[in-house]
Amino acid sequence: MAAFSLISIFIMLAMGFVMYNQFLFVTREENVQNTQKLIEQTGKSLEDYLVSMRQISDTAYYNAIKESDFSRENPDIQVKLNLLYEANKDKLRSIALYNNYGSLMMAEPVANQKENVDVTSQSWFEQAMNKKENMHFSTPHIQNLFDDGTQHYYWVISLSRAVEITTSGVVQTGVLLVDMDFSSISWMMKQINDSQNGQYYYLCDSSGEIIYHPRQIQISEGIYKENAVVNGGYEEGVYDEIFDGGRRKVVVDTISYTGWKLIGVIPYESSFTHGMINIQYFVVLLMLLTFMMIVVVNRIVSVRISRPIMKLNDSVKEYEAGEKPEIYIGGSLEIRHLGYSIQKSYEQIDTLMKEIVIEQNERRKSELDALQSQINPHFLYNALDSIIWMIEGERNDEASFMISQLAKLFRISLSKGRTVITVREELQHARSYMNIQKIRYKNTFSVDFQVDPSIEDCCTVKLILQPILENAINYGVSSMDDCGEIIVSGKRDNGNIILAVEDNGLGMSEEEAALVLTDSNRVHKKGSGVGLVNVNNRIKILFGKEYGLTVESEPDEGTRVSICIPEVPYTEENRKKLEEGNIFSIEDTGEIKRQGDSHEK
């Protein structure tokens, strides 16, 4: 997503740059073209104006002066010139005719010639006399010829030409001067110099002398500079130049007849960038908006992609936490497929788990059954040996008692196939067993049952006391002469039931006592071979690992084997639960006890 964003930003920046430059280029081209058109139009107007001046000069010369003799037709000439002046006085300042000595022969409008004016030294006169075949346009200057009494000075452009003046039949050369009011040209130029963007137009002759410039005085004052000398030398066309530290485009048009140059100047800095500042801002704003949009689109796309993944992740987490939520299935095809796969996997895991649990239970049950089945043959052998021994000794009453005890023993042992029985039945089983053993051992030891009656209705695994008693007899009291004593006790202790078998026999060392419950491979010297390990395992399988046997022994003092089981009231329901492998934790036993109490009630 970051790569996508970076690429988008890069493309956006590139587009902005290209767009701005393209816009700038088009604007420049358009600006130059507009300037060219404007210059062409203005040049045409100027040419028209100058042509009209030439026509006035021609009319004055050919219609009034050339064919007339001043000595005879002076008034007629004056009238003709007057008519010509009146017809064009909006453009003209004066029409004057000088002889070759510079004396005024005629002028329109009639005005006093200023005293001490030497026209022969004025440039228009000199040019006309020097090149008689041409018409000469001067640069703008103050007319210094007449005093019209208005105390005013006029800016004129002089059109002078050499003419033939006939006086009394004598032809002499003179100069016809048509002074054009500069304001007409000035007005034309002002019309096109109204741009606010730094672009301007000026007029100069081919030598670079300025005829009109919007900053004419600033240039003469040195406030402003113009490249007129160079520009005046340009041919028609568009030029790029650097002047006064600024790059600019110069569009040049040549005015016919005069060689004047109409020049349009487009400074790069102001003209081309005028209004472009806003474009620059606009492009930046556009880019910012686009960037914001990209971020939003990125966000939407990423959320659209990531949200289903997050939901799927959340449902998987819930599943891992032990809840059983529906695995989220949504979003794009791939995510949905992932969801389906995970769901299917979990379903398979569930099925497998259930199968494993069932297998485990079955295995546990079969193990339990196998353990229990280990007891029966040993004990049966012993009991039958004792009965055989009694019958052989013709102790029929004892044999009968023994057989009745054996019957009780087996009844409880079988218990209709149940594994869990009441403590009472277990104690009964223990009593029966001890009665049989006492007969067998000729009452060489005594047995005392000290059991809290209130625990007798609790659950226990069947046949757990018998192996312990068997060990107590075999390893404890069997070798003692009439002073062996076995105490079977039962009491409640912190929600548990403690059944203990205590003897005053030989006892064993601490190390040996520790091995009794851990070393299942011990070779049993005596007894049925069902060791305490067997009993311990059965209790742990049925009630949980926190329960089982504890062996305490002191050599020559005796041994005490304690059975710790949870206090679970014996009900059919609890029995079934235990037999099905539902191990009760310590916390559960209290609840179960209460349930049991309520059942009893």
Binding site: Q151, H152, Y154, I217, E221, Y281, L285, L288
Partner: protein, 324 residues
Amino acid sequence: MKNDKKVFILIEAILAVVFLIVAAFMLFDRADDRIQKISVVLQDSDSSQWSALKYGLEMAAADYDAELFVVSTGGSLTVEEEEALLEKEIDNGANGIIVQPVAGEGTEEMLEKIGRKVPVMQVESAVTTDDETSALPVARPDHYEMGAALADELLKDFNGSLEGKTLGIVANSKDTSAFQDKEEGFMDGIAQAGGEVRWTVNDYSGQEEELALPAYPEVDIIIALDDRCLIQAGEAAANKNLYGAVVYGIGNSMEAFYYLDYGSVECLIVPDEFNVGYESVRGLIQKLQHPFRRVSVRSLSYSVVRKETLFSADNQNILFTMTQ
């Protein structure tokens, strides 16, 4: 996911802030392009002596994208009239004022008061005594130098000595620093040349009720220290009413040029009024753009014009500014 959301909101917020800043800049730039309105108050604003100055004002206004308004005043103003005009211009939305201060007490206080509202540029003369530290800048010709130049030209014509010659000095602005400077410059210039200043008229307005120049005692040389007096003197000389007195003066109108051209005035010192006008606008625009920057005092040059050089290229340019 929550962090992503925070980052997203942060990025969007930053972009929005940048967007607003750029938009504000765009608007600020447009506001910056706002055309400054400048009002100009000149005494007797329609007088031809202001032609060049007005052209300078106009050109500078065009160069600096300012809108110029020259207040039409019929003649001389009093301090109160000038204050009223300036207040009116400010009310009409003028961003800056160019003013020719009137002679009289209270002008400085009045201009300082106006200057607290909008930037003020004095033109032609200053009412403040300490120009360098004044908060009211001024664009004016160097009056002292013009007076000195006039004396110099006079002495050139009289071979450096005015011994035995009598002079009459005429001007119409006795209280302005312009007159004082010009007179001081001139007097310093002729101090070593001898000659007697027979009379000095310093409040000559040329009005009908006043004594005409020919009525003053006869002198050999009349020195006119301002344009109006020069025209009066030129006219009197043209009419041959000055008993052969030659006229020297300081002027900046086409009429002054005319009398020089006509031969009624011997020598003309022409202040560069175009530049005075141009510089006043430039200074004011500078002050408008940088309100806390002190605009330096501008003393501008002058030209010496004689009949022989009247139509030189430089002088034609001076005339050009007067004909616009």
